[in-house]
Structure formats: C-alpha cells, structure tokens
C-alpha cells in the first residue's frame, strides 16, 4: 500500500501542475497515469501554443510537456506510478490503481482528479471497419509511436482537434482529402488554425456528413452527403472519397465515471461536454476530499487546464494545513478570467454558470 497526502490522477497539464502546486507547498504526492509517459494530450501537439508569452506561449505542445515532466520527475515530494489506471475510489480515502495483471492500494487524504476526456464517436455504415478511428488515436499512433495508420485521410469535424490533425498529417507527409463538417460554418476551430490548413490545399466541406465507409477488410472508400438546414441528407449529393483512414474529430466528453464511483455529484451540462462533477473555480467538488481540474470538469484547453490544475493543487494543499500564498491564488484566478475574456470562451462560461447556479448549486 502507498500512503500519501495527495493522490493526483492524470499526468496531463492539469495533473502535472496540480502535483507541482501540492508538492511545492510541502505535501507528498502520488501521480498516477495510465500511459507510460507524462504529458497527456500535450505530447501529441506540434503547434506553438497560444497564451501569455511570459508563460510558455509560442512553445510547441510536446516541448511544454517535456518541461513540465522534467519538473515533476525531479521533485522530491512527487512519486510517479505510470502505466496504472485508477479503477476504484472508496469513501474512506482508499483508491485502487491497476495494470492488466496487478493492482496497487493507495491511501490518500485528498485526491485531485485530472482524468481529462474521451473522444466522441458517431454512427455510420460500417463504422467498425479498420481504418475508422478517433483523431486522438491517429495522433497517438503518428506522434507517440511513429506509426502512420494510413496515407489518405478524411477528417470528420472542424473543431481545433480536426484541423490540427489535418495540419499534423500534412507535416508527416500524408494526404488529407478533406475536412467535412455537418455545420454551416467552422465547428469551433480557431480561424487561424483553419486558415493555415486550407491554404495548404485541404478543402473544408461544410454542411456535409459521412454516411458510410466501404472496403475489403479495411477502409478503401468513404461516402459523404450534403445536408439541408434540418441536417437531413440531400439525395444526389453523395461524394466518394478514396481514403484509407477516416478520423473522427466530433467532440470530447469529460471522463466523469471516477467521480460517479466516488459518490461525487455529477451534472449534465452540454456546454461542458456532458456529465461533469459539480465544482467551483478552486476545484472543490461535492466531496470534501476530492477535487477536479479540467478537462474532466469541462472541455476547454491546455492553458486553462494548467491554471485549473495549479488552483486545485493549491487548494488541496491549503486544506491539508500546508502554507499557501493567498495572493498567488488570487493571481491565478485573475489569469483564468482574463484568458476567458474572449468570445472563444463564451460557451464554457455559460456552461460553468449553468453548473454553479440554480438547482445544481
């Protein structure tokens, strides 16, 4: 059994920043991640990040991950348990982390859940044919393992994940047939991300969705169709795409099951991506010993995940009796506010308001 002050679940930007905040305050931390490497989604990102120039903006995602991982690994108060997945959370502060053939019992006074999100899938004919995969899976194969899952790609969904995947595929020398989106306009991608992909010749096909994939044992062809205002297919507008991979980038859904297992109240908020644990801006949930930092608390992005992780870490450390700089907490809250002072954060802000007001408060 491992006994620690704080268990942090998830080694992405939120989890690593939470662990560092707790450890810097003097408490002991166990950081558990199911992958063999720290960094979460940052590891897969080749683009330079937006944000504050004096806080890492302009640095490529995988470099941000390396910098944070270096700090986490060298911190004397942080112990790592990689390749383990959290499979149990009990009311008395006992947690179980497991590999395929062994498990570890953990006793922690506090736990900060930074479990992130899972990719959504959509239904279409033969969508179980090899070659249909999540955009994140393509990024993991390509950027983590150095394996190209195919040569010609159709991407479904024009949020940041979809257009960034298209760009990375071009960087890796693959061909991107098109990005399709059922919406009449970009599905949430930053205009500049969408622009840099399209000027390299990738068409963005709006008001169009995938109806099926076909091939002998693997994807050889995908078919898309235009949709009308009510998202109904328009007969006669079918298009064939000769691709060997269809990458789905149709949204993310917070990984909230661990909160449900631990008895934390979860609320369905579409603006935040689905079921999320009720939480305040310091990461408190309805259980006093369990904290959350996004994306598990709402789909956003890496800078807000980092800030949220730090805030949850500082809060947990303080509530364990470790000295925490209150001014720093104020500063991080202000930073979060100024980062979200943008039309791009409108949806998240609406979701958080909904979560924290009315019947869920």
């Amino acid at each position: 059994m491992i006994e620690v002050d704080v268990l942090v679940v998830g080694g992405g930007p939120a989890g690593m920043n939470a662990a560092l905040a707790v450890a810097d305050a003097g408490a002991t931390v166990l950081l558990v991640d199911r992958f063999y490497k720290l960094g979460g989604q940052l590891v897969k990102q080749t683009h330079k990040f937006f944000g504050w120039a004096d806080r890492g903006a302009g640095t490529r995602g995988f470099h941000l991950a390396e910098d944070l991982a270096q700090k986490v690994k060298s911190h004397p108060n942080i112990r790592l348990l990689m390749g383990h997945e959290l499979i149990g959370a009990y009311a008395d502060g006992t947690y179980i982390a497991a590999t395929w053939d062994a498990h570890v019992k953990i006793k922690a006074k506090k736990a900060i859940m930074c479990t992130g999100a899972a990719e959504r899938m959509i239904t279409f004919e033969n969508n179980d044919l090899p070659g249909v995969m999540g955009a994140g899976a393509v990024q993991t194969l390509m950027n983590e393992y150095g394996v190209m899952p195919g040569q010609r790609y159709l991407i479904v969904g024009s949020g940041n994940v979809g257009v960034i995947l298209a760009y990375q595929l071009l960087q890796a020398g693959a061909q991107v047939d098109a990005i399709v989106d059922v919406l009449p306009k970009l599905g949430g991608a930053y205009w500049v991300h969408a622009a840099k992909v399209q000027r390299l010749g990738v068409p963005l096909l709006l008001r169009r969705t995938i109806t099926g994939v076909y091939g002998d044992g693997r994807v050889e062809k995908a078919v898309t169709v235009a949709v009308d205002e009510r998202f109904e297919p328009v007969p006669g507008t079918e298009m064939e795409h000769h691709v060997d991979v269809v990458a789905l980038a149709v949204g993310l859904m917070p990984l909230a099951d661990v909160f449900q297992a631990a008895g934390v109240k979860t609320v369905y908020v579409p603006e935040l991506g689905g079921f999320v644990p009720w939480h305040d801006e310091l990461g408190h949930t309805t259980c006093p010993d369990i904290y959350v930092a996004e994306d598990a608390g709402g789909i956003e992005e890496a800078t807000t995940a980092s800030l949220g992780g730090t805030l949850a870490g500082l809060t947990a450390a303080k509530e364990l009796g470790y000295p925490v700089d209150e001014k720093a907490v104020e500063q991080y809250l202000k930073s979060l506010e100024s980062f979200r002072d943008s039309s791009l954060s409108q949806k998240v802000k609406e979701g958080l308001n909904k979560l924290r007001s009315g019947e869920h408060a």
């Binding site: 080749t46 683009h47 330079k48 990040f49 937006f50 944000g51 504050w52 120039a53 004096d54 890492g56 903006a57 302009g58 640095t59 490529r60 470099h63 071009l170 960087q171 020398g173 009449p184 306009k185 970009l186 991608a189 930053y190 205009w191 500049v192 991300h193 969408a194 622009a195 840099k196 399209q198 000027r199 390299l200 010749g201 990738v202 068409p203 963005l204 709006l206 800078t303 100024s338 980062f339 979200r340 002072d341 943008s342 039309s343 791009l344």
Partner: protein, 161 residues
C-alpha cells in the same frame, strides 16, 4: 468569410495593411489575426516594440513605421497569421511561415497559392531562413517568395512544382 471558414475577405485584409509608401520602403509585418484569441507572443517577440495589444484577447496593432520587417513576429505567431510584404515596383516579396518537410531552395520556382490553396501565379523563392521562435527550441522556417505585385495580397502559400 471569417465566421464561415476562417478566411479574411480582401476588405478584412485591407484593415491591417500598411500605407503604399511603407509597403514600397522595405519588408513590413502584416497580420491576419482577426479573432479574440488569448495570445500575445507577437508583442513579446518584436525587438523594436512595434506591436501592441490592449489586453491578452485583443487583436495586435502593428506600428508599420516602427516595424523593421525583421520577421521575429512571423516566426513567433502560434497561428502562423503574420506575413512580411514588400512591394518592389512591378514585383512584390511575400514572406510566409512554413512548417512542412521538403523545404524549397532559393532560386527555385514554385506555384504561388492563395488562402484557399488555389494556384494563382508563378513565384520564385528568394530566401529560406530558419528562425527561432520565443522558445529557442521551436524554429519556424520563413520562406520569401517573389511574385508579380498584382498578386501580393493573394499569395499566402505555395506548392513545390
């Protein structure tokens, strides 16, 4: 249109253009950043303080008279949304941030592409520089193309022949 597919119209582009006189004087930075992204590396990257921003989520304002056309911001911009323009009489030079393998070589003739990736004219590669970003590990290639001046506002990409 920006809201539909992320592209500025020519009217949008004109709102951030320098004067004809400045365009003729030498390379000058022009941004195509029209969304309130919380981001400011361009401001920090400018060695002469020519780029300002009201707050983190504002669009950058480039003081074209102060800008020396050094290209630091072109390399620093995470959105690859800053370019250098120089109108040299009948010809124009357009400097584009480029992050792909298969770099072009100076003297090579390539196809100049517009914002939609459509071929618009022939372009010759004048210069290829690998420039460090704010994070010194992150270099970005700046490719300078020479095109007919008529295409200066259209060419924002290229394809090797």
């Amino acid at each position: 249109m920006l809201e539909i597919d992320g592209f500025p119209t020519i009217e949008d582009v004109r709102t951030t253009l320098p004067s004809e006189e400045r365009l003729a004087r030498g390379p000058v930075a022009v941004h195509e950043c029209f969304q309130d992204i919380p981001c400011n590396p361009c401001v920090a990257s400018c060695p002469v303080g020519a780029i300002s921003m009201e707050k983190l989520t504002s669009q950058p304002i480039i003081d074209h008279d102060r800008c020396t056309g050094c290209g630091s911001c072109v390399s620093a911009c995470p959105g690859l949304a800053i370019f250098l323009l120089w109108k040299k009489g009948e010809k124009a030079q357009v400097t584009i941030p480029y992050e792909m393998l298969n770099a072009p070589t100076p003297g090579e003739t390539v196809e100049g592409l517009d914002r939609y990736g459509r071929p618009v004219c022939e372009a010759s590669v004048v210069r290829v520089v690998r420039m460090p970003s704010l994070d010194k590990r992150s270099k970005t290639m700046l490719v300078t193309l020479e095109v007919d001046a008529a295409y200066m506002l259209d060419v924002r990409s290229f394809r090797k022949g």
